[in-house]
Amino acid sequence: MTDYIVPLLLLLSSAIALRKKENPYDLMLTGAADGLKLLKSIVPALVLLLTAVAMLRSSGAIELLSNFCTPAFRFFGVPPETAMLVLIRPISGSAALAVGAELMAEYGPDSLIGRTTAVMLGSTETTFYAISVYFGAAGIQKTRYTVAAALLADLTGFVMASVTTRLLFST
């Protein structure tokens, strides 16, 4: 069933655009060019951060962190291997992508840990970045309970990513 989602989405959006007398091919080209620009802007960060993450991994620091976090993660039902990802996700989007890509390569994209990593990356955001950008632009100094509520949403995301992956994929 999930195999239909992506091809149908592509077909439907083009068909709808045609019906509205728009030019889907040219629109896609414009968007794809923007994508290339976006990619160019994140490549340097990916190189630096994957270097740092590879160093951390080979030093044994990530393993140590996972072991240290194991009791807390077990309590929430989240795989301890994802400790590094969980800690970095609210702070930096590109660092989270680097850590996540490394995790998926290490354990395999179809492993339970690999899938949990993918769901975590897909369903959470860079919380502190969003807070600083939006509140900075609106001139807010007192954030009241925003950080608490947003971090609770993140925690829910990490726990639910583990739960849904286990429910839908463990055989």
Partner: protein, 194 residues
């Protein structure tokens, strides 16, 4: 500045811990490997990022943003009562949420900022309003139709069904948005303006 601290701390921990574990030669080798992995990752995601950025742009221009905002209007009115009296706020907010859903993160941010600016309370400058907190929570829950980057990474690692995580991603996002909004609502009741 945050990134400089993260970068330096990563290096510091690598050096200290590898020294204790006798793995400094591995760390030295990992420097070159990691840099190369950064380029490999970027190239393996390039196709997907371009394609989905194109699809997002197409869906926006094909009127899916307008359709989505119509669908979302009843929900938005509940979460952000201010949208009932301020049509511009409603427009910015639904554009922000729709762009996030379609995966156009770069387009979503300016509209979210405009919405946040309209949500300020002139009688209490510098203090976050309840609606702003809810806007942040909704944005951090990352409700997204197609997480293209993640799917691209999975595909590059030889996964045959990179999109099979979609239902899990949707379910997770909806739960975290729900819990986050409930928490914000509850805390808003408890945390009076002072």
């Amino acid at each position: 500045m945050v990134m400089s601290w993260i970068w330096t701390l990563f290096l510091l921990f690598s050096v200290i811990i590898s020294t204790f574990q006798g793995r400094i030669s591995n760390v030295s080798a990992a420097v070159a490997e990691g840099a190369q992995a950064g380029i490999t990752l970027a190239i393996s995601m390039a196709g997907s990022i371009c394609l989905w950025s194109g699809v997002g742009h197409l869906m926006d221009k094909a009127g899916m943003t307008d359709g989505l905002s119509r669908l979302l209007r009843p929900v938005l009115c509940r979460i952000f009562p201010g949208t009932k009296t301020d049509p511009q706020l409603r427009k910015d907010l639904s554009a922000n949420i729709c762009a996030n859903i379609l995966g156009l993160g770069n387009a979503a941010t300016p509209m979210g900022i405009r919405a946040a600016q309209r949500m300020t309370d002139p009688t209490r400058p510098g203090i976050a309003t309840d609606e702003m907190c809810r806007l942040i929570v909704l944005n951090t829950a990352s409700i997204q139709l197609i997480p293209a980057n993640v799917a691209a990474v999975r595909a590059s690692l030889g996964c045959e069904t990179p999109f099979d995580i979609l239902p899990a991603v949707w379910l997770t996002s909806i739960c975290s948005a729900g819990i986050g909004l409930s928490a914000a609502w509850l805390l808003g009741k408890l945390w009076r303006h002072d």
